[in-house]
């Protein structure tokens, strides 16, 4: 079996599928990272992903338009992000608990809507593979990196974009300041609430896109609880990546590659019971959190509601 693994086509296949499977993590984690950088911990990512996955799937199924599918997902994500912002920023609720609430809502609601709308599992025509001219001709590299669908490319493009926004723009500076010392930002005339509304809403939109990338680009189906914990892993990846886009990218690739390996082992159906293989990413999450916790760059105000005056 180890021999099989060392076979070139298998390796290329696993690497390529690793790149693909990183897509939902990237959307969700980058979005979550913006929220956390501004001091809001959103544990509802999973629920937002499920709602995004369903909405995109439903729209594409009924209209046949991928553009409309993406727009619908962005809209539902923005709404759920706004809801999280109202609860955690304006109402100053305990963020961990309200995130779980959002998750349970998304889990139940997406399933209910699915049951009402479809009597059986159906598929849609999702985003087609785009082979990048010339680059995809390069042996090995081309196959691994340049034969994916549009949402995969966009997900990877988000990484440098997020880095740029955070580090090179006035908005990014505000986000970082609000997450580290909201009192200071407040005295400098920045509206802490407005910045957090923005990041949490953006996070909702990206989480929803993460779901959409599953239902209309990678798998092209919708099923109850189809995200299977990926939203929670995405939250963990933000810690794992020390709140930096590059770190999140490394984490996402690590997890997706373990996932791809695990899938391959399962299709082979040998040696290791499938349950152990599918446990691997979750085990890795726990280990990652143990070793990555309490970094210096952790936003000091993470999960603390802000109120003027001490």
């Amino acid at each position: 079996m180890i021999g099989d693994l060392l076979n070139a086509t298998v390796l290329i296949g696993i690497a390529s599928s690793g790149i693909q499977l990183a897509t939902p993590y990237l959307y969700a984690s980058i979005g979550e990272m913006f929220g956390q950088r501004s001091g809001v911990l959103n544990l509802g990512v999973e629920g937002m992903m499920l709602m995004g996955a369903f909405t995109a799937f439903y729209t594409v199924h009924n209209t046949g338009s991928l553009v409309l599918g993406v727009l619908a997902a962005l809209m539902i994500g923005a709404l759920m992000g706004l809801a999280m912002a109202v609860i955690s920023v304006t109402l100053q609720a305990e963020q961990g608990i309200s995130g779980i609430g959002i998750y349970l809502f998304g889990l139940g609601m997406s399933d209910l809507l699915f049951q009402k709308s479809f009597s059986q599992i159906v598929t849609v025509r999702g985003f087609p593979t785009i082979r990048i001219p010339l680059l995809s001709e390069i042996p090995v590299i081309g196959e691994v990196f340049f034969e994916h669908n549009l949402l995969v490319y966009v997900a990877f493009a988000l990484v440098p974009l997020a880095w740029f926004v955070l580090n090179k723009t006035t908005l990014g500076l505000k986000i970082r300041a609000v997450g580290q010392n909201p009192q200071a930002a407040d005295t400098m005339g920045i509206s802490v609430a407005r910045v957090r509304y923005f990041t949490v809403t953006l996070g909702g939109m990206l989480a929803s896109m993460a779901g959409a990338s599953l239902s209309i680009a990678l798998l092209n189906v919708f099923q109850q609880n189809m995200t299977a914990g990926q939203g929670f892993i995405a939250v963990a990846l933000v810690y794992f990546g020390s709140w930096r886009p590059g770190g999140v990218l490394i984490g996402a690739l690590l997890f997706s590659t373990v996932n791809a390996l695990q899938l391959w082992v399962r299709t082979k159906g040998i040696d290791i019971p499938a349950e152990y293989a599918s446990m691997a990413p979750y085990l890795l999450t726990i280990l990652a959190l143990v070793f990555a916790s309490k970094r210096v760059d952790q936003p000091a105000a993470l999960s603390k509601p802000f109120e003027r005056g001490d």
């Binding site: 723009t169 505000k174 200071a184 930002a185 003027r308």
Partner: protein, 522 residues
Amino acid sequence: MTSNGAPHTLPTGHARIDHMEMKGIVKRFPGVLAANQVDFDVRTGEVHALLGENGAGKSTLMKILYGMYQPDAGQITIDGKVASIHSPADAIRQGIGMIHQHFMLVPSLTVAENVALGMPSSRAPMLDLDVVSERIVQLAKTYGLQVDPECPVWQLAVGEQQRIEIIKALYRGAALLILDEPTAVLTPQEVDDLFVTLRQMTADGHALIFISHKLHEVLNISDRITVLRDGCVVGSVPAQGATKSGLARMMVGRDVVFQYKRDEVQTGDVLLRVEDLTAQSDRGTPALRAVSFDVHAGEILGLAGVSGNGQRELAQVIFGLRSATGGKVWLGSQDVTNKEPDTLNALGMSYIPEERMLDGVITDFTVAENVILQEHGQAPCSRGRLFLNPRAILQRSSELIRAFDIKTPNANTPIKSLSGGNIQKLILARELRRKPRVLIAAQPTRGVDIGATEYIHQCLLDQRAQGTATLLISEDLDEIMALSDRIAVLYEGTVVGIVDRKDANVEQLGLMMAGVRADAAS
């Protein structure tokens, strides 16, 4: 109106504020009237000091002017026009700047990023940090302030951080600058430097509000002095002709002793010995580098230094709340390095922590519950180590409340509704009741009113007379000078020197606090 002959435009290019007036300001917090019909004003070219005890309402009044709180009644006018200030952004727009008692800097950002924060960029939406840096350097030159725009703020010493705060305000075009207890964290020399900058700013036409509870500073820097007590203006006097004792009487409402009764005490054996102690900060950087000293029975060793030089870590290591990575702590003849606090308690060590509300009491507990925090499992506070004995607990608390004159409705009042001074007295009462051989007192009077401060100081001196070895950690040089027998100065985690109080003077200690060794400083 042109007063003082200063030009209408400030050197920063912004318009100046000729006259700002607050009239009839009222601000109520649950249970406190923090401002009661307060009138206050400041003019271009002057320093108007706001003097008052801790809790008098100085910060509250200024936060109203800066738009952080909304007054329940009253009006603010700037140059005769009513100003509506609903947020710091409004205040900044009106030319008001504020340097807060607790600095408002983002430690992980650089100086330039902190200054640029929230300001429009010439290259929006992108940052223009190079332009900002240039302007910072220019402002720094104008006002004689040393800064490096590229440096991350967490690497800066407190004095440097304050310079960044001033530049931040100037960068935003502050014509009126509020300084809330700006000298609390500075060495005497840094205070002098700050005053040079402030004098230059008033000469340029800035209007300054200077908040302090230190009389000599207020007399030194201001043109006018307004005294606040319990949210009311007690009086407003020109600095010329004002005296320390007169101001103190206005501030406290009675005469204040500046001298304590301190008897000559024969010192005994060494009760606390610290040998080459090293430890790390929360960040994992070295906080203590081979600290050594002894404290004898009947002696108060004052540990002076600017905050953040290892004082907090030292107290924690001695009391077993932080691990020593090297060196030893001796209590009498016993090695107590890295022992647990309850062991140390039992061996006769007591600790008055610097963060009173965090480490000294449990804020949601009652006074009585806080009294028995360490002894809830021992007779007579508990029966058979299982059940609390409410009668004994109440009796114990009532005794301490009486003996230490703690102002509380009763022993079952939640501790958080007591004033800072009374909470501190309670902690002191609890610790001294156990007759400690060694007492670690960290910032025992920080944020405490003068009455309680006097009381606490006298308690520490009485304890000394009874043979306790006291380590007094304080950033307040006046307190150190008033109480200590010997004075050690901590700088960047090392003891730069230990001097006898009789030979010590403020200038020398100030230099030592900036890292100059004792022999070179004298």
